[in-house]
C-alpha cells in the first residue's frame, strides 16, 4: 500500500506570540521583521555616508580657512614689517617670551613662523612672526569669524543628515513592504499547502526575477510535485480498490447463491474475512493518500457509541456521564469505536468497559494490556503484539488512529495500573471542528487527562507508528500548535 510522507504538518509557530494583536498591526510590531532590518540597514548606511561627507567637508573647510587666516596674518605681518622699517614704530615688536611657545620655537629655529592659537577656543588667533634686525615682530589676526562659520556649517550638516534620516528610514520601512508582502504571500501559500490545500499556488514565480520570485517558483513547483504525488497515490488507491473489489463482489454474491450447507458456511465465513481485510486495507490506503474527509455534524456520543456496538455485534459495559453531544463525523466515530472495542475483545480480555464523557471516549479491557512495542511506537500494520494473540490482522488500531486524525481527535494508548489496555479518544472541544477548517488557527491541544501512569503515548496525528509520538491531526488540525 502506498505511504504518504508527512507532508501536511503545519508550522506556524513564529506567528503565535502575535496572535493577540490586531491583524493589520502585526507586521509593524514585529521588531524582528525584515522591514525593520531593512530600515535599520538604510539608517546605518545613511549615517555612514553623512558622516563621511561631513568629515570631508569639515576637513577641507578647516584647511581652507586656516590657509586664508595664515595669508591674512602674513599680509598683516608684511605690512607691520614695512611700517616698522619705514617709521621705526615699535608697535609690533614683541619680546620672544610673550609669544606662544610653539611660535617662539619656530622663530628661534627659522627666523619666522605662523601659528593658529586656539588656547582660548572662543577667541582663536592666527599669529605670524618674523625676526627683523634682531627684534621679533609679531602680529595676530582674529580667526573667530571663520571658526563660527565652520561651526555653523557643521550644525547645518548635522541637521540636514537628521532630516534626511527622518525621511529615508520611514521610506525604507515602507518600501520593504513590497518584498514583505511577496514573502508573506509565499509563506501563506506554503501554509495552505501544509494544511492540505493542494491547489494553493503563489503564482509569483517566473523567469528573471529576484530571490523572492525564485522561492515562489520553488514553492509552486514543490506544490505541483506534491499534488501529483498525492493524486497518483489516490488514483492508485482507487484503481487497487477497483481491482480488488470487482472479483470480491462476484465472490460475495456467488457465495450467497450457494445452497445452505456446512462447506457453504465455511466459504461464506472466509469471504467475510477476506472482504473485511480488503476493506480495512483500502481504508488505510485512503487514509494514507489523504483521500478521507470529515463530515462533522452534532452527534449524541452515548447513542452513537451504543449503536456502533450494536451494529458491530460487540458487547461492552457502557457508562455515560451527562448527555454529551459533540460535533464530529459519526461514520468515522463508528469506525473508531468499533475497531477499539473489537480489538479489546480480540486481544484483550472481557469485560470491556466503554466510558463516555463530554469529549472523551475510553475503551478499556481486562486482558494483558497493550504490548510494550505498541505503546512505544504506536500501532503497526499486521502487528498483533505476540504470536499467541491470534485473530485479527492488527489493522484495527491503525485505522482507529487514522480516522481519529481525520476528525481532529487524539487517540492515546496506555495500560491501566491494575492491568488491561486503555485506549482514550479525545474529540476536539466544541466548535474546534469548524475552526480547524481554516489553516493557521491554533487550538490548544486537548488531552491533559492522559492520567494513566506508565507508557501513555499521544497518538495525535502520529502516522501509524514511525516513531512519531506526538503529532497533530494533520488534516483537521491545520494550525500547528505542537505540544
Amino acid at each position: 500500500m502506498p505511504r504518504t510522507p508527512h507532508v501536511r504538518t503545519p508550522h506556524v509557530r513564529a506567528a503565535h506570540h502575535l496572535r493577540t494583536v490586531p491583524h493589520a498591526l502585526r507586521p509593524l510590531l514585529n521588531w524582528r521583521s525584515l522591514r525593520w532590518k531593512i530600515a535599520a540597514l538604510v539608517a546605518v548606511a545613511s549615517c555612514a555616508v553623512a558622516l563621511a561627507i561631513g568629515l570631508l567637508v569639515h576637513h577641507s573647510t578647516l584647511e581652507r580657512s586656516l590657509h586664508e587666516d595664515r595669508e591674512r596674518a602674513l599680509t598683516a605681518l608684511t605690512a607691520a614689517v614695512a611700517d616698522h622699517r619705514r617709521t621705526g614704530t615699535q608697535a609690533s615688536v614683541t619680546p620672544l617670551a610673550e609669544l606662544p611657545d610653539a611660535l617662539a620655537r619656530q622663530v628661534t629655529a627659522t627666523g619666522r613662523g605662523t601659528l593658529y592659537d586656539d588656547s582660548d577656543p572662543t577667541v582663536p588667533w592666527e599669529w605670524a612672526a618674523t625676526r627683523v634686525d634682531g627684534q621679533v615682530l609679531a602680529v595676530r589676526v582674529d580667526a573667530g569669524t571663520d571658526l563660527r562659520s565652520r561651526q555653523a556649517l557643521d550644525r547645518h550638516m548635522r541637521l540636514a543628515s537628521l532630516a534626511a534620516l527622518a525621511v529615508v528610514v520611514p521610506l525604507a520601512a515602507l518600501a520593504a513592504e513590497l518584498p514583505n508582502r511577496r514573502l508573506r504571500r509565499v509563506a501563506g501559500t506554503a501554509r495552505r499547502i501544509a494544511a492540505g490545500d493542494l491547489e494553493a499556488r503563489t503564482r509569483a514565480g517566473g523567469p528573471g526575477g529576484d530571490e523572492i520570485t525564485e522561492i515562489a517558483a520553488t514553492v509552486d513547483s514543490m506544490a505541483d510535485s506534491l499534488r501529483d504525488r498525492l493524486r497518483s497515490e489516490q488514483r492508485f488507491t482507487a484503481d487497487v480498490a477497483h481491482e480488488l473489489r470487482t472479483p470480491l463482489m462476484g465472490l460475495v454474491t456467488a457465495a450467497e447463491l450457494l445452497p445452505e450447507s456446512e462447506p457453504t458456511e465455511l466459504v461464506r465465513d472466509r469471504v467475510r474475512v477476506l472482504r473485511a481485510l480488503v476493506e480495512d486495507l483500502l481504508e488505510i490506503s485512503r487514509l494514507d493518500a489523504g483521500a478521507e474527509h470529515s463530515e462533522p455534524r452534532p452527534v449524541a456520543l452515548a447513542e452513537a457509541v451504543a449503536e456502533s456496538l450494536d451494529r458491530a455485534g460487540l458487547t461492552a459495559r457502557l457508562s455515560v456521564t451527562g448527555a454529551p453531544v459533540a460535533e464530529t463525523d459519526p461514520r468515522r466515530l463508528d469506525r473508531i469505536v468499533a475497531n477499539l472495542v473489537g480489538n479489546a475483545h480480540r486481544h484483550g480480555g472481557a469485560p470491556v468497559d466503554v466510558t463516555v464523557g463530554a469529549t472523551r471516549i475510553e475503551v478499556r479491557d481486562h486482558g494483558p494490556g497493550f504490548p510494550a512495542q505498541l505503546l512505544a511506537r504506536g500501532p503497526q500494520r499486521f502487528f498483533t503484539g505476540a504470536s499467541e494473540r491470534g485473530g485479527g490482522h492488527g489493522l484495527g488500531l491503525t485505522i482507529a488512529l487514522g480516522q481519529a486524525q481525520v476528525i481532529g481527535a487524539t487517540l492515546t494508548f496506555a495500560n491501566a495500573p491494575d492491568g488491561g489496555a486503555r485506549a482514550v479518544l479525545h474529540l476536539p472541544p466544541a466548535g474546534a471542528g469548524r475552526a480547524a477548517d481554516g489553516p493557521g488557527r491554533a487550538q490548544p491541544g486537548p488531552g491533559q487527562d492522559h492520567g494513566a501512569p506508565g507508557d501513555g503515548r499521544t497518538g495525535r496525528g502520529a502516522r501509524t507508528g514511525g516513531g512519531a509520538r506526538t503529532g497533530r491531526g494533520a488534516r483537521t488540525g491545520g494550525g500547528g500548535g505542537r505540544h
Binding site: Q234, T237, A238, D239, A241, H242, R245, T246, P247, L248, M249, G250, L251, V252, T253, A254, E256, L257, R275, A291, E295, R297, E307, P330, R331, D334, R434
Partner: protein, 256 residues
C-alpha cells in the same frame, strides 16, 4: 427473502462488464422475484433500455464503449426511471460524477444482495409513489426534444386548490404529483419529486441532510450527504436555483 414475489414482476436492467458479477447479481435478484435483463457494455445497455423500458437501472460505472456515467446522462436526456450506480472505486470521481449525471443513489462494491435489494426497493417505492414517472415515460418522445430532462409535458391543467402548493412561480400538485413552473410541467425523477415534496411539506424550514437521507432515501445512519447535495443541485436546475436555499452547515430550505 426469495419467494416474496411481487404481483407483477418488476423489471431491472443490469449493465455490468464483469461476467461473474453480471451473472451472480442477476441470479440473486431473480431469487428476489425481479425480472433481470443484462448488458455487458454501455451501448448495449442503452439499446436494451430503449427496447425493454425496465423499471429500474443498475449501472456499473466502469463500462466499455460508453461508461456508466455517460450512459446515465444519455438515459436522463429522455427518461426518469430510477438509476442505481454501482461503483467499485467508491471515490468522489465515480460517486459525484454518477450522481451529477442523474443517478438517484449509489452503492459501493462489494455489496450484499440484501443491501442491494433494500436500495432497489427504496427507489421503486419512490417511483410507484410518484406516478409522474409513468407519464414521463409516456411522453419520452416529446421530452427528448427538450433535452436535459426539462421536458414540457402537456398543457397545464390547474389542479383543485386544496392540493396545490404554490411557491413563487412553482406549483406543486400534491394529489396528482405534478410540478409546474410558470405554467409548464416540470419533469422530475421520482427521487427529485420525493425530495421536492419533502421540502414542500416544510416550506421555510431548514431540513438537514440526515433528515433528507432518512425520509427520501430511507438511509439509516450511514447515508452519504453528497447524494442529497447532488440531487438538490439537479432539482434546482429544474425548478429554479433560487427556490432551494442552502443554509451553510445545516442543510437546505424551500423558499416560500
Amino acid at each position: 427473502m426469495p419467494g416474496e414475489n411481487p404481483p407483477a414482476p418488476v423489471s431491472l436492467l443490469l449493465v455490468e462488464d464483469d461476467e461473474v458479477i453480471r451473472r451472480t447479481v442477476a441470479m440473486a435478484l431473480e431469487r428476489y422475484g425481479y425480472r433481470v435483463s443484462v448488458a455487458a457494455d454501455g451501448l448495449t445497455g442503452l439499446e436494451l433500455f430503449r427496447e425493454l423500458k425496465p423499471d429500474l437501472l443498475l449501472l456499473d460505472v466502469m463500462l466499455p464503449h460508453l461508461d456508466g456515467i455517460g450512459l446515465c446522462r444519455r438515459i436522463r436526456e429522455s427518461a426518469l426511471e430510477p438509476i442505481l450506480m454501482m461503483s467499485a472505486r467508491g471515490d468522489a470521481l465515480d460517486v459525484v460524477s454518477g450522481l451529477e449525471a442523474g443517478a438517484d443513489d449509489y452503492v459501493v462494491k462489494p455489496v450484499d444482495t440484501s443491501v442491494l435489494v433494500a436500495r432497489i426497493r427504496s427507489l421503486l417505492r419512490r417511483a410507484t409513489f410518484a406516478p409522474q414517472a409513468e407519464r414521463g415515460r409516456a411522453d419520452t418522445g416529446r421530452a427528448a426534444g427538450n433535452g436535459a430532462g426539462q421536458g414540457t409535458l402537456g398543457p397545464y391543467a390547474p389542479p383543485p386548490d386544496s392540493d396545490r402548493l404554490v411557491f413563487g412561480d412553482l406549483t406543486v400538485d400534491t394529489a396528482g404529483l405534478d410540478v409546474f413552473r410558470a405554467g409548464t410541467r416540470v419533469a422530475l425523477t421520482p427521487t427529485e419529486l420525493r425530495l421536492l415534496l419533502e421540502f414542500a411539506a416544510h416550506p421555510g424550514v431548514v431540513l438537514d441532510r440526515q433528515t433528507l437521507l432518512r425520509n427520501v432515501w430511507d438511509y439509516g445512519w450511514d447515508g452519504d450527504s453528497r447524494v442529497v447535495d447532488l440531487c438538490v443541485q439537479r432539482l434546482r436546475r429544474k425548478i429554479g436555483a433560487e427556490r432551494i436555499e442552502t443554509v451553510r452547515g445545516f442543510g437546505y430550505k424551500l423558499r416560500r
